[in-house]
C-alpha cells in the first residue's frame, strides 16, 4: 500500500462522511498532510493528541482526523487549548487557526499564550482573507489589495504574524508556504516537539475568493507565486529593504528556551505546600 494511503487509513476518521468542505486546489490539504506526517514520524498515540481549532476554513480540519478534536468559538481556540493543556499536561495540544481567527478576533489570546509560554503548537493558516465567509479582508491582507470589503483597495497595513509571534515571546516560530511542503513537514515536526509556545505560520492561497477578485490566477499559479517570492530567513539580513518588500521570509525565525508554563506551575504547587506547611 502506498505511504499516503497508509496514513489516510490510519489518521482520517473512518466514520466521517467525505468529501471535505474545502475547494479543489486549497492549500489546507497540504498542511493537513504535513501535520499527519509529522505526528506519524513523532509516533504519538492518537489518544494523546488534542486538535483544537477556531472558526473558518482551517477550523474545519479537526473533524476529519482521528484525534481528540475540539472546534471552538471564533478566535478563542488558544484559550480552550490552555485549559486542556493545564488540566491534563500529558496531552499533546495542537491548535489550528486561520489568519483572521488568530490575529484579528483572537489577537489578544495569541499574544498572551505566547507570553505565558503555554506548551501548545499553534499552526496558523494564512491566506490573507476571510475565506469561509466569502472573501473579506483580514489583518493580513496586503495594502492595496481587493476583497469583498475593500472593493476600492485595502488601506490598512498588514500584520506579519510570525514577527508578531516572535515579539510576543514565542519560543519557536517558523514560517513556510504550501508550495514548500517539505519545509512545512520539518517545521511542524519541530514545533510540535518543542516545549513551550511554538508557532508555524503556513502561507497559503485562497484562489477562489481572494485570488479571483485580485486576478492572481489559479491555485497552481498562486503557489508558483509563493515559490518565486519566498526567501530563506537567513538570506534576509543581506538584502536591501526594497528587495524584501513583497517577499515571504521562510524558515525558522526563532528557536529559544524559556520556562514552560506548566513546569513553572508545578514549582508553584511545591512552593505553596512548603509555604503553607502542607504535609503530603
Amino acid at each position: 500500500m502506498a505511504e499516503v494511503t497508509k496514513l489516510i487509513h490510519k489518521y482520517l476518521r473512518h466514520d466521517k462522511k467525505f468529501p471535505h468542505v474545502w475547494c479543489p486546489g486549497c492549500g489546507i490539504g497540504i498542511m493537513l498532510g504535513a501535520l499527519i506526517r509529522a505526528i506519524d514520524r513523532i509516533g504519538y498515540e492518537k489518544d494523546e493528541v488534542v486538535l483544537v481549532s477556531g472558526i473558518g476554513c482551517s477550523g474545519r480540519l479537526p473533524v476529519y482526523v482521528d484525534f481528540n478534536t475540539l472546534h471552538t468559538t471564533h478566535g478563542r481556540a488558544l484559550t480552550f487549548a490552555t485549559g486542556v493543556k493545564l488540566a491534563k499536561p500529558s496531552l499533546k495540544v495542537i491548535v489550528i487557526m486561520g489568519d483572521g481567527d488568530a490575529v484579528a478576533i483572537g489577537g489578544n489570546h495569541f499574544i498572551h499564550a505566547a507570553r505565558r509560554n503555554i506548551d501548545v503548537t499553534a499552526i496558523i493558516v494564512n491566506n490573507s482573507v476571510y475565506g469561509m465567509t466569502g472573501g473579506q479582508h483580514s489583518p493580513t491582507t496586503p495594502y492595496g489589495m481587493k476583497s469583498t470589503t475593500t472593493v476600492y483597495t485595502n488601506i490598512e497595513q498588514s500584520f506579519k504574524i510570525s514577527e508578531l509571534a516572535v515579539t510576543a515571546g514565542a519560543v519557536f516560530v517558523g514560517r513556510g508556504t504550501v508550495y514548500h511542503a517539505k519545509l512545512l513537514d520539518s517545521l511542524i515536526e519541530r514545533a510540535i516537539l518543542k516545549p513551550g509556545f511554538s508557532v508555524v505560520e503556513v502561507m497559503t492561497h485562497c484562489h477562489t475568493q481572494y485570488g479571483r477578485v485580485n486576478r492572481l490566477g489559479s491555485a497552481v499559479e498562486m503557489m508558483e507565486w509563493q515559490r518565486d517570492h519566498a526567501v530563506p530567513v537567513e538570506k534576509a539580513p543581506g538584502m536591501k529593504p526594497e528587495e524584501l518588500e513583497d517577499k515571504i521570509l521562510i524558515g525558522v525565525l526563532v528557536d529559544k528556551e524559556l520556562p514552560v508554563y506548566q513546569d513553572e506551575y508545578e514549582k508553584i504547587r511545591q512552593r505553596a505546600k512548603e509555604m503553607m506547611n502542607v504535609k503530603r
Partner: protein, 372 residues
C-alpha cells in the same frame, strides 16, 4: 465567620473543583484571589487569563480534559462570557459560572448590589438554549449551592450559573465547615461501552449522554456547530430538530432535581412574598414583623431562578391572592410571576435600582399597603 465569596471557594473545593480561570472584577475578585492560594495546595490549577472570554474558554477546555472547572465574574465579565456560555450549552460541557451581581448596566457601580442580571442569565447567549441558574441568599448557601451547582452541571452536562448579589458575596456569617460531613458529590457519567461503540451525543433515558474525557481512549469531535449524535456537523433538519429538543428535554424532564425553593409560613398565607438573594433576607424579617401584627404573610424564597418554578408559585396561589415581588431590578422575576399566575392573584412589585438594598421596612410598607 466566613465571607460569601470565601464560602463559594470552600464549596468549590469540596465539590472537587480543581481548575479555575478568571479575571479580576469587583465584587468577585476574592474568589480568584483565594483560589489562587488554595488550588495549588490541592494539586489544582489557577490561572488568571487576559479577559473573561479567555477565562470561560480555558474553563471549558479543562472540563473537557476531565477536571471540574469554574470561573467567577460580575456583570461586565458575564456579558463577555455569553458566547462561550452558548458553546458550553450546545457541546454539553459541565462548568460553573459564578456571577456576583453588581449595579449595572455597563460599568455601573462596582460596589453596589443589584439583581439586574436575572434575565441575562436566562437569555444572555443567543439561540434557543436551556439554563440552570441558582441564587444564594446566605453565606451557607454560597457554600451549599456552589456544591449543588457542580453536581447539577456534572449530572446534566450543562453550565450552571450561580447568582450572588454583592451584599451576600461580601457579608460575613458564622458557618460550620466539617470535613466529615456527608456531602453528595456527583461526577459526570462516563461511557460504559468500549470506544468503538461510543456514540458521544446519543440520547439516553435521562437525555444526558455519557461523557468521555479527552485522552481516555475515546476520540470524538466537539463542535459548536449543530451536530449529529456522533458529534459531526449537520445541516439536516431531521437531526437538528431532535438534538435541540433533547438539549431542552434533559433539563425539563428533571425539574424535581433542579428546582429548589424554601417556604416560610406560606401554608396559610393570604399574602405571599416571592424573593431571592439578599432581598429574601429582608423579606424574611418583614414576614416575621407582619405576622406579629396578625397579618398572614408568607415567603417563597426562590433558590432556583431558572428554570422558573411555576409549581412553587402555584403552590402559594392556593392560599394567597396577593403576591409581592421585591427585586433590585426593574421587575425581572415579577413578570415571570405574573405570567405563571395568569391573573389568579394581584402581583405587586417593589423595584429598586439605585444601588441600595431593599429593607424589611420597605417590604412591610408594601404589605400594609396591600392589606388596606
Amino acid at each position: 465567620m466566613l465571607q460569601g465569596n470565601e464560602a463559594v471557594v470552600e464549596g468549590a473545593l469540596r465539590a472537587g473543583c480543581r481548575f479555575f480561570a478568571g479575571y479580576p472584577i469587583t465584587p468577585a475578585t476574592e474568589i480568584s484571589e483565594i483560589l489562587s492560594v488554595k488550588l495549588p495546595l490541592v494539586d489544582g490549577t489557577f490561572i488568571q487569563m487576559e479577559d473573561e472570554i479567555a477565562s470561560l474558554g480555558a474553563v471549558l477546555g479543562a472540563s473537557l480534559a476531565g477536571v471540574k472547572s469554574m470561573t467567577a465574574t460580575s456583570g461586565p465579565g458575564f456579558s463577555l462570557m455569553q458566547e462561550n456560555l452558548g458553546f458550553a450549552v450546545i457541546t454539553e460541557i459541565p462548568c460553573v459560572i459564578v456571577n456576583v451581581m453588581r449595579a449595572g448596566p455597563s460599568t455601573g457601580l462596582a460596589t453596589a448590589p443589584a439583581q439586574g442580571d436575572v434575565m441575562q442569565a436566562r437569555w444572555g447567549t443567543h439561540g434557543d438554549h436551556p439554563a440552570i441558574v441558582l441564587s444564594a441568599s446566605t453565606v451557607r448557601e454560597c457554600y451549599d449551592l456552589t456544591i449543588k451547582a457542580f453536581n447539577l452541571s456534572e449530572k446534566f452536562r450543562n453550565p450552571v450559573i450561580l447568582l450572588i448579589d454583592e451584599v451576600v458575596a461580601h457579608m460575613r456569617e458564622k458557618m460550620v465547615l466539617s470535613d466529615e460531613e456527608e456531602v453528595e458529590i456527583f461526577d459526570r457519567v462516563k461511557p460504559a461501552v468500549p470506544p468503538e461503540w461510543y456514540i458521544p451525543y446519543e440520547d439516553t433515558a435521562s437525555g444526558v449522554p455519557a461523557m468521555a474525557n479527552f485522552g481516555e481512549g475515546y476520540r470524538y469531535h466537539v463542535t459548536g456547530l449543530t451536530h449529529d449524535i456522533r458529534g459531526f456537523p449537520t445541516a439536516r433538519p431531521d437531526e437538528i430538530g431532535p438534538f435541540i429538543a433533547r438539549l431542552h428535554r434533559k433539563i425539563s424532564q428533571h425539574f424535581s432535581e433542579i428546582q429548589m425553593a424554601e417556604y416560610d409560613q406560606t401554608e396559610d398565607a393570604e399574602i405571599a412574598i416571592i424573593a431571592y438573594g439578599s432581598v429574601a433576607r429582608s423579606a424574611k424579617r418583614a414576614v416575621r414583623e407582619a405576622r406579629e401584627k396578625g397579618i398572614k404573610v408568607g415567603l417563597l424564597k426562590l433558590i432556583t431562578i431558572w428554570p422558573f418554578m411555576r409549581s412553587a408559585v402555584e403552590k402559594v396561589l392556593q392560599t394567597s391572592k396577593i403576591l409581592i415581588v421585591p427585586e433590585m431590578n426593574m421587575g425581572q422575576i415579577s413578570r415571570e410571576v405574573k405570567r405563571v399566575s395568569r391573573g389568579a392573584a394581584k402581583v405587586l412589585a417593589i423595584n429598586k435600582v439605585d444601588g441600595t438594598i431593599i429593607t424589611p421596612g420597605e417590604i412591610l410598607d408594601k404589605i400594609m399597603e396591600a392589606v388596606s
